[in-house]
């Protein structure tokens, strides 16, 4: 059993990832993350290895393709307004 990580650190990461954890989850994750991150520490010993990409320059011609109708685009949206997706406010 490793040291749990600081629950505040879990909260910080949850904020970055936009997940509203409840207290119980935050505590449990703090414990589990301690174990998992300690396990990941083995990566420190890995040698630096370079490898070239074997696939490059895959591109498409500048030709238009038919896309979705407005109705199809909006169909899965929880809410829409006048042809727009309804999103939360940004202030």
């Amino acid at each position: 059993m490793s040291e749990p990580v600081d629950p505040e650190e879990v909260r910080h990461v949850a904020d970055l990832a936009r997940v509203a954890l409840n207290d119980e989850e935050a505590t449990r994750f703090a414990e589990q993350f301690g174990d998992i991150l300690a396990y990941f520490d083995a990566l420190d010993e890995v040698p630096a290895v370079e490898r070239d990409a074997d696939l490059t320059n895959v591109m498409r011609a500048d030709d238009t393709r038919e896309g979705l109708s407005q109705e199809e685009a909006l169909r899965n949206a929880p809410e829409t307004v006048d042809g727009y997706f309804k999103g939360p406010r940004v202030s």
Binding site: R60, D62, Q70, P88
Partner: protein, 493 residues
């Protein structure tokens, strides 16, 4: 530091830019949706890819990569051996995937420069990098104002438009230089055929501005890096034109200088340019921690396009064309500069040199056409080329006077789209034939014996008076020089 010394201190401004330009392609950066979205209903130019639907994948548009290589070439930048896309991770409702596909530590263009003329000085602005990225969608705020809206309305038509972000070194020493640079950059991009200034939102500018002690600025404009690093900067966002840039940055320069002179620190912050109020506003309360968690976009294989720099031709750029015009057409520096101000003007002019004497055509375009267009706030693209050619033919073959050609025919062409021949006909501007002029000259001599006498007495004004009489009786259609000559001939014989 006392208030007095602060007051007395001379301050210099340092500016760097991040310029976003939309590249002219038929389709978006990573999908086949059309970029022609002007006047479209919201969310009518989307597909699974640009809407960020689960499972959809990006495939890069070759034309956008080609355009980026052209820009790199024009900015004399390095195209690295290998370049690739990264994901920039952040959350915002206009981002379909809540990450933006952009370029991070392997941009397609690095270390370029652009030379700009400011007043009579030539300045070289360093280009740190230029990279490709996708545009987010656009937000409308229900109820109008961003800070009072209850929700946002999201349109993804713009999502995935191909953008190039051009990042300069902090090389600008005044808002005027910024404006000159932006004009020059637009001109170059238009020359390359990769940019359309008329397109809505095709140019967007973020600027970093700080003030430093003027003594720190060396003769050649350089400033020690530690001085730059120590100076608190503001990032000014939401600038969308050269004029706006000059205004916003002048405002910000004054604001920062005033703060420093009053002994206050400049806050390091993001400020929003409010065009309608003409001020910058602090966005500090809206700022969040920046941790973009960049990592390579595995769905898009790396690109190896450094060789394209040789393969892809770019048109002659404004500076080179200006020099060529001066030499090839024997033009003055000012004429050459005006004739290459836009690719449109230069192409318009150069086509005329096939038919007309280069100097003659230059004087007509520079001295007359551009002036008339400028007065009407129009571009050369709105000129009926065939009509203009006909007008020059009429002048060139001496059929009408220069004065009438400019003041009557050209203006009628521009204002009413009139046909030059029709104007000449309707206004009776056809140059009066030799016989008619001779008749008028004889008449003037017969009708004004006093003036004839004065002429013989050596009074210089008498001849001018007689010329005026002839011009009046011919309705201005006679050539003053010819009248002058004929009068002397008759009087002296």
């Amino acid at each position: 530091m006392t208030a007095q010394t602060t007051q007395a201190r001379d301050l210099a401004v340092v500016i760097g830019l991040e310029v976003h330009v939309q590249l002219e392609t038929a389709t978006k950066l990573f999908c086949g949706c059309s970029t022609d979205t002007a006047d479209s209903e919201p969310n009518t130019h989307t597909c699974p890819t640009c809407l960020g639907l689960p499972g959809a994948l990006p495939v890069v548009n070759e034309a956008a990569v080609e355009a980026a290589v052209k820009v790199g070439k024009a900015l004399d930048a390095d195209i690295p051996e290998e370049t690739r896309f990264h994901r920039k991770n952040y959350y915002y409702p206009d981002l379909p995937k809540n990450f933006q596909v952009t370029q991070y530590d392997e941009p397609i263009c690095q270390d370029g420069s652009l030379e700009v003329a400011v007043a009579d000085e030539r300045r070289t602005i360093g280009i740190e990098r230029a990279h490709l990225e996708e545009d987010p969608g656009s937000l409308k705020h229900e109820g109008g104002a961003i800070d009072r809206a209850e929700y946002t309305m999201v349109d993804y038509n713009r999502a995935g438009m191909p953008l190039m972000e051009i990042v300069t070194d902090p090389d600008f020493r005044s808002p005027t230089e910024v404006r000159a640079f932006l004009e020059k950059l637009e001109e170059v991009l238009e020359y390359l055929g990769v940019f359309d200034a008329e397109r809505d939102g095709s140019l967007r500018i973020d600027a970093n501005l700080s003030v430093v002690d003027a003594e720190e600025v060396a003769e050649d404009g350089t400033i020690p890096t530690d001085v730059l690093a120590d100076a608190n900067r503001t990032e000014v966002k939401n600038i969308s034109s050269h004029k706006g840039a000059a205004k916003a940055l002048s405002y910000e320069e004054t604001r920062q200088k005033n703060a420093v002179r009053r002994g206050r620190a400049v806050e390091q912050e993001t400020r929003h340019w409010d065009e309608s109020r003409g001020i910058t506003v602090s966005m500090r309360s809206k700022e969040e921690e920046k941790d973009y968690r960049y990592f390579a976009e595995a769905d898009l294989p790396p690109m190896r396009v450094s060789g394209w720099k040789e393969e892809i031709a770019i048109p002659e750029l404004p500076d080179a064309r200006r020099e060529r015009f001066r030499e090839e057409y024997d033009l003055s520096a000012e004429e050459a500069s005006k004739l290459t101000s836009t690719k449109q003007v230069a192409d318009f002019y150069e086509a005329l040199t096939d038919e007309f004497d280069a100097g003659f055509a230059a004087s007509w375009v520079v001295d007359r056409l551009l002036g008339e267009l400028n007065y009407r706030d129009r571009s050369v693209g709105s000129v009926d080329r065939a009509a203009f050619v006909r007008l020059l033919e009429l002048v060139d073959s001496d059929d009408i006077t220069v004065k009438n050609a400019e003041e009557v025919v050209l203006r009628a062409m521009l204002d009413d789209g009139s046909d030059p021949d029709a104007v000449v006909e309707a206004e009776g501007l056809g140059k009066t034939s030799g016989d008619a002029v001779e008749e008028a000259v004889e008449e003037a001599i017969a009708d004004n014996p006093d003036a004839v006498e004065d002429y013989h007495d050596g009074e210089g004004g008498a001849l001018n008076f007689l010329v005026g009489q002839v011009m009046q009786s011919t309705g201005g259609s006679a050539e003053p020089g010819a009248v002058n000559e004929l009068l002397r001939e008759k009087l002296d014989s």
